[in-house]
Each structure stands twice: as structure tokens, then as C-alpha cells.
């Protein structure tokens, strides 16, 4: 269950998961104990799924290849999209899996060490599933923005140090 306190806290944690309960309390003006309770509650209810960091791996030179894969599915009797999706998202290679409206059904984001890794996953795992009718693979060439963060850095403001 989402309370107003939890909402205030979640908004802040979504931007910076390192904020301590003390800081959260100071920023939101809610009592510390209430804030701690809200965070615990959000964790147990899986409202907070995990605490992660958005990393620009290119800067550390780690090779990584990603692709977005459109998957068209043959609707099958007694097998809904959820079941189909489950078969796909259990693969650790699948980083995100979405059901979409439009010309294809599932969008799968795959990340691997090399083009070869990704291609193997698509051709051997994904395309061979009996209900997968077809796939279109888009390799990712460049990341500009990730999870709301511009990789080149946000626009910097230049202000006078003192103004009226």
C-alpha cells in the first residue's frame, strides 16, 4: 500500500538510492521513524524492486553489445502472452521484456559480450521457440540517454556567484 510519506520518499530514492533515512526525513519533513517504516514497507511489498547504479561502461572500456529485438508471436490456444513472455524473460540475456501494441508483440532487450553472443541467443534460443513467428534484431549503435541520464552530462548552468 502506498502512503503519502512513501510517495515522497520513493520520488527521492528513484533519483538517488543512496539517500539515508535521515536525509530523506530532512528533505521531506516527515519523522524519521515514519520514513524508515515507509522504506521497509516498500521493500517488502516489492514496490522498490532493487537499488542499482546507472553506469557508462564505455568509459571503462568494457565491451558490451546490446540489441532490441522485436518478436512476433503466434497466438496459441491456452497460452497467453504472459506465458510466452515468461519463457523469454527467464533467460538472463534478456535484460528487459515488454509486451507492446502495434506491428509486433514483444520487445526484448538483450545484452551480451559480443555481437556473436547476441546473435547466438537470437538464432538459437529466441527464434527456435515454437510460438515465435519471427524476429527483427536492431543492434544498438550508440547510447545518448540512459534511464533519464544524458551520457554526455546534463546542461551546466553558469551563474554569477552573487546576484540580487
Amino acid at each position: 500500500m502506498k502512503t503519502p510519506i512513501m510517495k515522497d520518499v520513493l520520488k527521492l530514492l528513484e533519483k538517488d538510492s543512496r539517500l539515508s533515512a535521515e536525509k530523506l526525513a530532512a528533505m521531506t519533513g516527515h519523522p524519521l521513524a515514519e520514513v524508515e517504516k515507509a522504506v521497509r514497507r516498500a521493500e517488502t511489498d516489492r514496490i522498490i524492486l532493487t537499488y542499482k547504479t546507472v553506469i557508462n561502461w564505455e568509459k571503462v572500456g568494457r565491451e558490451q553489445v546490446s540489441a532490441l529485438i522485436e518478436v512476433k508471436v503466434v497466438p496459441q490456444r491456452a497460452v497467453g502472452f504472459d506465458t510466452v513472455a515468461q519463457r523469454i524473460y527467464r533467460y538472463p540475456e534478456a535484460r528487459s521484456v515488454y509486451l507492446l501494441s502495434g506491428t509486433y508483440d514483444l520487445l526484448v532487450q538483450v545484452t551480451g559480450r559480443s555481437i556473436h553472443d547476441v546473435a547466438t541467443f537470437v538464432t538459437e534460443k529466441l527464434a527456435t521457440l515454437e510460438f515465435v513467428q519471427g524476429t527483427v534484431t536492431h543492434f544498438l549503435l550508440k547510447r545518448y540517454k540512459e534511464d533519464g541520464e544524458i551520457l554526455d552530462g546534463q546542461d551546466e548552468l553558469e551563474r554569477l556567484p552573487v546576484s540580487p
Binding site: K11, L12, K23, A26, M27, T28, G29, Q154, D155, L157, R159, L160, P161, V162, S163, P164
Partner: protein, 400 residues
């Protein structure tokens, strides 16, 4: 011998201009520029970049070749949008054709207001601490500023009785600047209603600088012009600089009864012509689509406000709770230092810039202005340094 004295010396400069003291902030600025790695709580503008959709609208207008003058009053579309905005927020009804003017910031609007209504010797009552431009604008327009102090015990709200005590037969206008720079004070409705009664009883005009109208926290901003009977007595000045993070665009507006507006436009058309065209397109986009961004920034200011007010009080710098703008105005009396000493030493010893309260009028003495329009990280680091500084100053004080 050739006379090398500059001609300005021989003939003298305008006495009115000479009468205005140099800005208290300027002095401080020069010192500050000589020190590296300063955390500045001394600014008076947002730390957000103008939201992208607003910047994009200006770029688009330039691409489309909208590079000529607009009407003296400003783009008609913008004035219509502004009229709707004022109607929506405050139930105000201004004619966009004759009662709204797009200006070069609230700065220009305040200057126009003074020049349009004052005659030599007219008195203008100005609550202090005050934004730095009201007194000089009054003087330049030939008026006589009459300060009225406000204090921390009243949460820096203007007390109607104090105001009444300064009304004379020569009083022409009252300046209101709430939410206030530098104190962060917001006026309660009942006090404004009393001030409105005084304005009516003594037939005074009110120049209301409401540039921070959108930046209020947990309280209502009462628009003075929207109080019963006040519309035609009020020159409402507002702008986009603060709420939409648009200081550099230089767009503001004035709203007033047609007769006053006609006089203001006369000055505006010969001195300014019109506000910059691309910036007006940006302003149009801001008023139309900027609400989400405004609320997001407001929420962030509010968090910082809580942190800085709590922090300053914990350090022992008593700080009333500011309900508007983005300033905290703590008392530094407990340190035994004057505002200028405090600001100067804090800057030199701990590299934190705050503005001495006396830059905003005599009754600002004993306070400093801390602007929280800066990152939470900066606020936390600044509080740490201020805490260390105050501890040191007080520690020494008790040993003496």
C-alpha cells in the same frame, strides 16, 4: 596646459544618479571573484536550466525567421495567454489589448511603474528588508522612498499599523514584494486586506512585485490585485525569471488599469521598444506548457528549504520558516558579528558566500541571506562549513 579632467567631472553627473549609493552586493562580488572553490548561497536565481521545451520554442521561432520587433505591448498571443493565466490563477480580468505589457523582466516593470506615477516629492513606502531595486527606481523617478521596517518576530510580514504610521499627505504609493527577497516572507491574506483598506482610505496606488508568486510552500499566495477593489489601484508586476528558470531571457510583465498602462507604455516604447522577440516566444511556450516543470522545481526547492532551515537552526542561527521564494534569512546576532563581518569572514575562512542582510536595508542588519537555489549537496556542504565557522566564532566569544 591641456585639461585632462574627464568631462564628466567638469560638468558633473546627474545628481539623482549620484544620490544612489553603489550596490552593497557589488562590493561583495569583487571580493568573491578573487577566491576559488566558493560554495555560493549568494545568488538570486534558479539553479535549473530553462526546461528544454521552452528553449526549443525559442529556437524554432528563430528558425522560422521571427526576428523582427513585436508590438510595443508584446506579442498579442503572449498577452492573451498571460490574460488566461492570470484569470485561471487569481480570477483576474485584464484586457490583453490595453492592460497587459510584456517587459524586460520585472526589473523594467518596476521602473516603468515608478516613472509612470510619480511626481517630484511623491513618497513611496517601501517595506524593508527590500529587494535592491525599489529604492533606486523610486529615486530615479523623482520620488522619495519611505522605508518601513519589518522584523523576524512578525515573520518579516509588513505590519499594517507600521505602514499606516508612515502614510502622509505626500504618500503616493506602497511597494509590496511578497513572497519576499531577501526574507522569504509571504503575506497573510488578512494583513493584505488591511493594507488594501489603507490604500483605499488614503487613495494610494500599490506596486506589487509578485515575481515569486509560484514559489510558495504550504501556503497560499494572495495576489494583491485580486483583492476586492484593488485591481485598479494596483500595478501588478510579475515574471517568468524565477518559476520557469528563465532569468537570462529577460521577460516579465505588468498588469494595470488602462490609464496607468498607457503611461507605462509611453516610457516603454521610447526606451525599450519591445521585449526580445525570441524570448517572448519562449515565454509563450512557458505559460502554455510549463506547469509540470514549475511544479517539479517547486518540489525540489521545498526539500532544500526544509534542509537549510533545519540546518541553520541546528547551527544556532535562528531562522524563521520562510514560506516563499528561495531564500532563508537567519539571524546571526548570536555570533556577535555584524552582517558584513559575518559574510566577509565566512567567505574568507570557509569559502561560503551569503549576502549580508544590510544590503537590503538597515533592518536587514543582524541577518544574512542564504539562497537555497543550489544543489542539495552544496547546501549540505555549506551547512557544514557554516556550522564550523559559527562554532569557532562563538567558542572564541565565550573565552573572551
Amino acid at each position: 596646459m591641456v585639461d585632462t579632467t574627464p568631462p564628466s567631472r567638469n560638468r558633473g553627473l546627474s545628481q539623482k544618479v549620484a544620490q544612489i549609493p553603489p550596490s552593497g552586493i557589488r562590493k561583495f562580488f569583487d571580493l568573491l571573484s578573487s577566491i576559488d572553490d566558493v560554495i555560493s548561497l549568494g545568488v538570486g536565481e534558479p539553479d535549473f536550466v530553462t526546461p528544454w521545451h521552452i528553449r526549443e520554442a525559442a529556437i524554432y521561432s528563430v528558425e522560422k525567421g521571427r526576428t523582427s520587433y513585436t508590438s510595443n505591448y508584446g506579442l498579442l498571443d503572449l498577452r492573451y495567454e498571460l490574460a488566461r493565466h492570470l484569470e485561471r490563477r487569481y480570477g483576474l480580468d485584464y484586457d490583453p489589448q490595453s492592460e497587459l505589457l510584456i517587459t524586460v523582466g520585472v526589473s523594467e516593470a518596476m521602473d516603468l511603474a515608478m516613472r509612470a506615477i510619480l511626481n517630484p516629492g511623491d513618497e513611496v513606502i517601501i517595506p524593508e528588508p527590500t529587494y535592491v531595486s525599489y529604492v533606486p527606481c523610486t529615486v530615479l523617478a523623482g520620488g522619495t522612498p519611505v522605508p518601513v521596517p519589518t522584523n523576524m518576530a512578525d515573520n518579516f510580514q509588513l505590519a499594517p499599523a507600521e505602514l499606516a504610521a508612515r502614510i502622509t499627505p505626500r504618500t503616493r504609493a506602497i511597494v509590496l514584494g511578497y513572497p519576499n527577497n531577501p526574507t522569504g516572507a509571504v503575506m497573510d491574506r488578512d494583513k493584505l486586506v488591511e493594507i488594501a483598506r489603507l490604500a483605499e482610505a488614503h487613495d494610494l496606488l500599490v506596486i506589487s512585485d509578485e515575481i515569486y508568486d509560484r514559489l510558495v510552500y504550504g501556503v497560499e499566495h494572495v495576489c494583491f490585485a485580486a483583492l476586492p477593489g484593488m485591481r485598479d489601484r494596483t500595478i501588478l508586476a510579475g515574471g517568468l525569471s524565477k518559476a520557469y528558470a528563465m532569468t537570462g531571457w529577460r521577460i516579465g510583465y505588468a498588469a494595470a488599469h488602462q490609464d496607468i498602462m498607457e503611461a507605462m507604455v509611453k516610457v516603454h516604447q521610447y526606451t525599450i521598444m519591445c521585449a526580445p522577440t525570441a524570448a517572448q516566444y519562449a515565454a509563450l511556450e512557458a505559460l502554455k506548457e510549463g506547469e509540470v516543470a514549475v511544479l517539479e522545481m517547486l518540489e525540489e526547492y521545498d526539500r532544500r528549504r526544509r534542509v537549510i532551515v533545519k540546518g541553520l537552526n541546528e547551527i544556532g542561527l535562528e531562522c524563521f520558516e520562510p514560506r516563499g521564494a528561495f531564500y532563508a534569512f537567519p539571524s546571526i546576532r548570536s555570533t556577535g558579528l555584524s552582517s558584513e563581518e559575518f559574510a566577509h569572514r565566512l567567505l574568507v575562512e570557509e569559502k561560503v558566500a551569503v549576502v549580508p542582510g544590510n544590503a537590503f536595508g538597515d533592518c536587514g542588519e543582524g541577518h544574512v541571506r542564504c539562497c537555497y537555489a543550489t544543489s542539495m549537496e552544496n547546501i549540505e556542504r555549506a551547512l557544514e562549513r557554516i556550522g564550523r565557522f559559527v562554532g569557532r566564532v562563538k567558542g572564541l566569544g565565550s573565552r573572551v
